[in-house]
Symmetry: C2
Subunit: 161 residues, 2 copies
């Protein structure tokens, strides 16, 4: 039974690995009542300290509307709160509530374990290497460079006339 086997498509390989790892992290965080995605989202919100949705979306490399959708279950459960920014009434500041903090800390303990388990299983060096490669792909400069090598027509952006 072959099973997975290597993949010539970087995107497909990335997705497959994401599904696998997502499964593992989800299982580990389940006792805290958070999906791995939600844990990551809370962590990012805390890191940015009351970011606007746009800033948060950029940091997550996520579509703004997708972020809005993803935040809904967390807001419904009272783990995050959205407030209108007085300086710009169009903007919403995203904040982790007290309940969200508590839940996060609970999940954090589990996360530390599963993360350590991952590094132990995969190897600390390879883990760091992988993280570096992934961060490079996610960072804005990569997308910019990628766009720069567009085959042809995509030249509508920048450097026009």
């Amino acid at each position: 039974m072959a099973g997975t086997g290597p993949h010539p498509c970087s995107n497909a390989a990335l997705r497959r690995a994401t599904r696998r790892l997502g499964q593992l992290y989800d299982d580990a965080l389940a006792p805290a009542g958070l999906k791995a995605t939600q844990f990551g989202l809370l962590a990012q919100i805390r890191l940015l300290d009351q970011p606007s949705m746009g800033d948060l979306a950029a940091a997550m490399v996520m579509d703004l509307s997708a972020l809005g959708h993803t935040l809904r279950p967390l807001a419904r459960d009272g783990l995050v709160a959205l407030t209108v920014d007085p300086r710009d009434r169009r903007s919403r500041r995203v904040a982790v509530t007290a309940a969200g903090e508590a839940r996060f800390r609970e999940a954090f303990r589990l996360w530390r374990e599963v993360q350590a388990r991952f590094e132990r299983t995969f190897g600390a060096e390879k883990s760091a290497l992988l993280r570096g490669l992934l961060d490079e792909i996610a960072a804005p400069p990569f997308a910019a460079a990628f766009a720069g090598t567009a085959p042809a027509e995509a030249a509508e952006d920048a450097s026009s006339s």
Copy 2:
């Protein structure tokens, strides 16, 4: 404007990179009318040649029911067909239809370009390295090894008494 910044969580880093790369590949394949995920799915089906849903799910490292859902739009559009396996009427063989083949070939040309573009932008060596790391995570042995290092209670499986 910080922007992304490194991530201590391997899972979050993986997801972020997946969102970014998915965006890039989706854009590139859009003219063919296929999402990058659908392209990858068709490619896998062709590779396995009329696999059962279970085999396909295993190869994709995807939940069986998730595979069923994902297949629906493709089946609705007549790109894939599900037929009952005569040897085991519970099982369904998944096949790429003629229309699916045509669509795949169209997308394949675009994929080759975007894939080459990725390797050029990211570097051939780093691309190969990344693919190797991702494939290792997706492959069954990794999950098995990971489960083997479970913190405690997960010892319900195997080696019980």
